[in-house]
């Protein structure tokens, strides 16, 4: 009788623990494919893929949310790439953090992954580049503003705040930044354009014509 009681007790505890783990906000499911690579670049800890996942070309962007050259690329080059390559299924894009410019840079990157928990990564990413302040660390990307951006997007604020305040994605951003350095990225934005037969590294907020020439030669 005692033996049975112990077994039932253990099972009950296991069930309760399981329910607690799976219902806890800090263990929200993240769509991380740890084996995800593009060319020689591991993008497992980067953003979700923007565009067709089976597109022949992948643009891996290493960026910092406080970098004004990333802002320039986002506003001057990315729209044409999106229109001609991503929306047509010829290419997709992955963003990987190289958060090095200021104290608010890693926090902003973490916030983007908190938005990813609610399947709003790219919307949040776009908001950060649309509302980038003119100065580094002047408060435009502090915790309060990051929460305000999330609220404007209509995210569940309890989930978002618990995620951001707990530093849930701190290690993920650190890992991405470290990995960018290991891949030889020496500034933001930095790119790897990965095609079926090879990859090309690009540095800086280069114009659309450069990306077009490289990608057309890969298709």
């Amino acid at each position: 009788m005692n033996k049975n009681g112990v077994i039932i007790g253990v099972i009950a505890v296991a069930i309760i623990a399981g329910i607690a783990v799976f219902s806890s906000p800090s263990s929200e499911t993240v769509n991380l494919d740890m084996g995800r690579t593009h060319g020689t670049i591991s993008t497992a800890m980067g953003s979700p893929i923007l565009g067709n996942p089976s597109a022949p070309i992948t643009i891996v962007e290493f960026g910092d949310y406080q970098c004004h050259q990333c802002y320039n690329w986002f506003h001057n080059t990315k729209p044409a790439i999106t229109k001609e390559y991503i929306e047509t299924g010829k290419a997709n894009l992955v963003f990987v953090d190289l958060a090095f410019l200021g104290l608010d840079s890693p926090i902003a990157a973490q916030a983007s992954y908190c938005a990813e928990d609610q399947e709003m990564y790219w919307e949040y990413h776009d908001i950060l580049y649309n509302y980038q302040g003119s100065k580094i660390d002047d408060g435009w990307a502090n915790t309060e503003r990051l929460k305000a951006f999330a609220e404007n997007l209509g995210l569940d604020m309890d989930l978002f705040e618990s995620c951001l305040d707990s530093g849930k994605y701190s290690k993920r951003v650190q890992f991405n930044t470290q990995q960018a350095k290991e891949y030889g990225v020496r500034g933001t934005p930095g790119f790897f354009i990965v095609g079926p037969d090879g990859q090309q590294q690009l540095s800086g907020a280069q114009p659309f014509s450069v990306f077009k020439q490289i990608m057309d030669s890969m298709i």
């Binding site: 506003h75 580094i136 690009l202």
Partner: protein
Amino acid sequence: MVQTIKLVFSNSKYVILAIGIFVPMLIGLLILSEYIFLEPYIVSHIPSGSELGFVLIVILSALSALVIPMNIFRINILKSSKQKMGGGIFGSIIGAAAGACSCGPVGFAVISTFGSVGTTATAFLTNYEIPIRSLAIAILVITYFTTVKSLKIECNINS
């Protein structure tokens, strides 16, 4: 003023010196500020919203190419003191430093090497790129007028 410029640049040595300052400085700053890219091929690009930065680089390079040879002329020909040379050099250096850091390889190297001190310095130079370049231009303009005035007196040029 025109006569003073003619006096200095009538000597081809100073014209060559001016070109030798203007071209490398302009191209160097345009590369550092990502208006020119060398790889995968040479391409120039002025992103929308960055026009003012481009104009300031051109003015800074042109003023440096004007002021520095004039001061060297003063020192060489008139054996004047090297004191006024400082304004031209100082203006050129602080103008060049502003914005050269930013998110590019220079800023990355500074931050990687000096840590939080590098981060603060880079942030300052990036945040105040336009005011710093404007200040550098102001220093060069003041140095220019001081040099012209000095040359007029020392060379007895009638304006």
